[in-house]
């Protein structure tokens, strides 16, 4: 069985400060890993994904995540956050052709 743990339910951070949203997973087989973002009153949007190859993946808006197999983690980071980054962030794991399994989400609030 697989599971995803997002350790922080809420993360407040000041504008232009760095942020890290933590995600750990458990699985007995190889995994594909995803981060989704949900802005208020909207659906989820794919932010970035790790399928294979380089363990560091980046999004177009400055976020990055690193797959760490030994620590079974896929933490999301940004060196300097914007007010517009305020949203819910979901980590998700997929094994093979199975359905995505989502974490419980982290609410990122950027403080002016």
């Amino acid at each position: 069985a697989q599971s995803v743990t997002q350790l922080d339910s809420q993360v407040p951070v000041f504008e232009e400060a760095p942020v890290e949203l933590r995600c750990n997973y458990s699985s007995s087989v190889s995994v594909y890993l995803f981060w989704y973002v949900q802005y208020p009153n909207q659906g989820l949007q794919l932010l970035l994904k790790y399928l294979s190859g380089s363990t560091l993946v980046e999004s177009i808006n400055g976020f990055e995540a690193e797959f760490n197999k030994s620590q079974t983690s896929f933490h999301l980071r940004k060196p300097s956050v914007h007010i517009s980054d305020t949203a819910e962030y979901f980590c998700a794991v997929q094994t093979g052709a199975n359905n995505l399994f989502f974490g419980t989400g982290t609410r990122l609030t950027v403080i002016p």
Partner: protein
């Protein structure tokens, strides 16, 4: 632009009414999903479909039903709405194929309130 559409965006309805939440996608994706999202943000898979005439129950038991008569359309129906059905419902789709792992595309959601 290829996309996935959900209607209505917001719905307030009385107890006992029958409702259908619509979901359509223009990407030709075979696999479609319905998620229920609680106020605390957690996502629960309630139904999914591999393609036309295929429907499966998800991880969370739900009194709703779904149908898949056309590839692009995956409506969700509640025969008799109750206050416990109050939630946000998210529809998603994904491409299926050898070596294709692309993630899901989500609609904007329907926020349902049963009074």
């Amino acid at each position: 632009e290829a996309d996935i559409y959900q209607t209505p965006r917001y719905l307030v309805i009385g107890t006992g009414k029958k409702i259908t939440l619509e979901c359509s996608q223009t990407m030709g994706h075979d696999k479609m999903y319905w998620y229920q999202q609680d106020p605390g943000m957690e996502l629960h898979l309630i139904h999914y479909s591999y393609g036309v005439n295929s429907t499966e129950k998800g991880d969370l038991s739900s009194e709703s039903t779904v149908s898949r008569i056309r590839t692009e359309h995956f409506p969700l129906t509640l025969e008799s709405a109750r206050p416990s059905h109050t939630s946000q419902y998210l529809c998603a789709s994904s491409e299926v194929g050898q070596g294709i792992i692309g993630g899901y595309t989500f609609g904007s959601g329907t926020r349902l309130t049963v009074v």
